[in-house]
């Protein structure tokens, strides 16, 4: 069953706030094998001009994928999660994510279309601090493989 195109333009407001911790940044950096001191040492981060340790460029996947999963779980959208794959992903950073950030994420459905028997869903999310400072815009395309 094709996805419901009436979902194009739908916006999903933040449902929670995510507080970025030094420990989670270090855990993520360990998992990708990146030993940069800017992820772990507040003094090194400060020397590089940052108020606290910063996060790797793809760190926001932690909250980005969760928001996408919440959208695709809506039964009215008609998406078969077991057939879904991540088609592409992009992050535009307005400034580096850093420890202490309290972030919220607003997700938008930009497009839904069918090509070569597969359903495509394009979304973007605005990530900002609780004070309204823009931090990052994420873009993703999800593909639901045809039967």
């Amino acid at each position: 069953m094709p996805l419901d195109p009436s979902f194009i333009g739908r916006t999903y407001p933040p449902t929670s706030t995510y507080e970025v911790s030094r420990a989670k940044i270090a855990e993520f950096a360990d998992a990708i094998g990146d030993d940069s001191p800017l992820y772990r040492d507040p003094a090194a981060a400060e020397a590089a001009g940052y108020p606290d340790v910063i996060a790797p460029p793809t760190f926001l996947t932690i909250i980005n994928l969760a928001s996408i999963n919440a959208i695709v779980a809506d039964p009215e959208l008609g998406l078969d999660y077991s057939r879904m794959v991540h088609g592409d992903q992009r992050f535009t950073h307005h400034r580096p994510v850093r420890a202490g950030d309290e972030l919220r994420l607003t997700t938008h459905i930009d497009d839904i279309f069918v090509r070569a028997g597969n359903d495509f869903l394009s979304v973007h999310a605005d990530v900002e601090t609780v004070d309204g400072e823009p931090v990052c815009t994420t873009y993703a395309q999800l593909v639901v493989r045809g039967e």
Binding site: E27, D30, Y39, T58, I62, A66, H86, Q89
Partner: protein
């Protein structure tokens, strides 16, 4: 740091192992069983457990930030996931090899880096590009 079109970044080769997939699952909170459960992966038609596309993307990002010295200078980073990285249950894991080259130096103080990622002789990321601040 001077950047010129055609400059090549130091490459990065990573042996992605099952151990790393489990660590990455926990760190990224992506617990999709295709990334750690062989029985589940093969039931849904995959050859075996596959790496998180986002892990492959993150490793490409690591090559860029290693080169820059400051990951905060990565202003944009995007990839297309074109092929899965199949990770065997052994100590070697899957060898993924990354290369990067400067594709464009812009007037606004940024440069575009074009990235390739190869596994088993084939590219696994398409249109992989980062925009970085030159200074």
């Amino acid at each position: 740091m001077s950047m010129n079109v055609g400059d090549e970044l130091p490459g990065l080769s990573v042996h992605v192992t099952r151990d790393q997939l489990v660590r990455y699952a926990g760190a990224s909170l992506d617990f999709n069983p295709i990334h750690w459960n062989e029985r589940f992966a093969t039931e849904v038609g995959l050859p075996n457990v596959i790496a998180h596309g986002m892990l492959t993307m993150a490793l490409g990002g690591r090559m860029i930030s290693d080169w820059l010295g400051d990951p905060g200078r990565v202003v944009e980073y995007g990839v297309r996931f074109t092929r899965p990285v199949v990770v065997p249950d052994d100590a070697e894991g899957a060898l993924v090899e990354f290369t990067g080259k400067i594709g464009e130096v812009r007037d606004d103080g940024t440069a575009r880096v074009d990235i390739t990622a190869k596994f088993d002789g084939k590219t696994v990321l398409g249109k992989a590009q980062a925009v970085v601040r030159v200074a």
